[in-house]
């Protein structure tokens, strides 16, 4: 194995390891706080449409009840890649490091996702797929949905963790009432 190949593999491993960590955020770990869990959408449940623009959401806040299951229809109406991620501020901060790595390795390139790179088998069965249940990562024009159960009250935000976007203000509050 050449040195450069080894370096790529090492980076890939570190990405997939941390990605795994992010995946387990959904069920909560370490922080003693969690943002809820994936769920099956019940009949008559509530749907919230979220538009992602450059670089902000519409709406910028919404209300939920403890235990409520909400379906989010998320659409990227901007011209850059954006994420919709439900988590605590600490979870977002941790995820931002991973997203930075995805940018540095060319997975996120402005308005494009390098799917080939995301799908690539890094040799240990792991990939740089962004497939955590609490988030979607969308190219311009793409739409996806998340069904999420807000199991407990907490300090929960929805946020885009593409580098710089959260800091520029691309986040919103989930208010419990």
């Amino acid at each position: 194995m050449s040195v450069s190949k080894f370096v790529v593999a090492a980076i890939a491993m570190s990405v997939s390891m941390t990605a795994l960590g992010a995946g387990s955020h959904g069920s909560g770990h370490g922080h003693g706080a969690k943002s809820g869990e994936p769920a099956k959408f019940p009949e008559g449940g509530r749907t919230i449409t979220v538009e992602m623009h450059d670089n902000y959401y519409e709406p910028e806040a919404f209300d939920v009840k403890k235990g409520e299951i909400v379906r989010f229809m998320v659409e990227n109406k901007g011209s850059l890649v954006h994420e919709f991620n439900i988590g605590t501020p600490a979870m977002h901060e941790a995820h931002q490091d991973e997203m930075m790595m995805m940018v540095e390795h060319g997975v996120i390139q402005g308005g494009k996702l390098n799917h080939k790179m995301m799908e690539m088998d890094m040799g240990n069965g792991k990939t740089m797929k962004h497939d955590d249940p609490n988030s979607v990562l969308l190219e311009p024009g793409e739409s996806k949905e998340i069904v999420w159960k807000f199991t407990d009250k907490g300090d929960i935000e929805f946020a885009c963790n593409v580098p710089g976007h959260y800091q520029a203000g691309m986040y919103g509050d989930v208010n419990f009432n």
Binding site: D54, G110, P163, G164, Q167, A168
Partner: protein, 600 residues
Amino acid sequence: MKTTLLSGALALLLPVISLAGEYDLTVDRVEIDTGDFVKEGIGYNGASPGPVLRFKEGEDVTINVTNNLDEMTSIHWHGLILPFNQDGVPGISFAGIQPGETFTYKFPITQAGTYWFHSHSGFQEPDGAYGAIVIEPEGREPFRYNREYVVQLTDKHPHSGDRIMRNLKMMPDYYNREQQTVGEFFSDVSENGLMNTVKDRMAWGGMRMMKADVEDLQGFTGLINGKGPDQNWTGIFKPGERIRLRFINSSAMTYFDIRIPGLEMTVVQADGNNVQPVSVDEFRIGVAETYDVIVRPRDDKAYTIFAESMGRSGYARATLAPEEGMEGSVPELRESARLTMADMGGMHGMDHGSMEGMDHSQMAGMDHSAMKDMDHSNMEDMDHSNMEGMDHSQMAGMDHSAMKGMDHSNMEGMDHSNMAAGGASDPFYAPGSGLVPTAANGGKFLSYADLKAQSPLYEDREPTRDIELRLTGNMERYTWSINGVKYEDADPIRLQYGERVRFKFVNETMMTHPMHLHGMWSMLDVGAGQWNPVKHTISVQPGTTVFMETEVDEPGQWAFHCHLSYHAAAGMFRKVIVEGGPESTKAAVSAQTTGVGGDA
């Protein structure tokens, strides 16, 4: 009847719909107190800096400028896209504003963001004639903040601009305190022995020593919003708030490295145009550039805005605090950057391709501007680490091809940290440059390479023409020029309306030049295609080649120059004429350009 009614109704509505604002500015003699010294200068509405002009995108502005000086004046709206006869450059856009005269500028505001204005006459700008422009966008911003402050920097010098220029012309290193002195010769003698010192210096000829020219104007006091470091301009915040800071560098000559210890800064705009947000610990702001950043201080304490000059000869300081009077600690100035051989790599015909093991890290302030056709390709293992301030301007046609294994074993202080192999790197600095900035906390320092347009302003297309501009100069005579020709001897650059021109800047000097094209955008090539950032001022580092593209979409004639005041005045300046364009504007252009005089 129906249509008449309709148009009548529209006519009634229109004045209500269209925004129009009228603003008055007086140009006055003012007193400037930096805390270090008090100095007479020039300001607007009785103060320097002048007021912050707040416009709204889509507004038609009328600005009445009354000249209360006993000399001609002018105001240039730096970065604004407007008809050329409103651009305020005497001799190019208009005839200037005579003493006692009121000139009325009228133009539509077609953009948003942070900009500034300044006199384009003589050295009135370094003497204090500048202010800020803030334009609110029609739609929402692509970022959020709770409050905002203009943070306008300058390098106020106790000498007037005229006097500085005279002194620089007389003695180019007049304001260079770092220069090597006779005393240093003797200290080298005591360290290295007389014979070695003499031999070392003799070996390289002329030996008129001159040191670092990272900055050729030292001895200033850095001001933020008109306040010196001890006067400490303070912006108030509530912990947890998001603050937009609109940094503007209105210095005559000084680049600043800016940081706020304890806060990450998210850069959201450069030169008035939104960029994809990038979070940094520190950034370098070139003369005439602007950067908007968002910070979020969460703690109930004071934070220091610390702006060190690139050459570390001075600083500006301000504070963000929950209450007036609170202060954060003020860091020490870091050590001065030193030019390396790499920073001179752009100079004429030199081939250093095969040199190895050389360390020139202590060499600085060298002028090799007249060297030609040198071939050093077989030099090896040289160490010149204590050479400083050499003048090689008379060398020509040298062939050192047989030199090998030179041993200057009594030299001390070998340092390879500035060579390409190690240390900091930035694609916009020469490989191995001594000027590459690093963040004080070891974190992220903004590079031009990080700047990507938030949304492309123009459709991306192939340039229709390339124009090479070599940035040239002779430090010995303090002449600065483009392609070796100074402004008064140069033909204008002629562009055709509708072209997309690719400018190639080749910096053959040892100084950084912030190049500013008036009237049309400069799209800096960072390799991001349609996402290349849209700027009005582009810094070109020593020994580097930088490309920018311009959509030639504004008829008329425009200024194009290095924004270092004394370089522009010395001749690093061009007139750009845009030929052709819509019929309606052509007539206006020819009417305007006849009988234009002035002092540009």
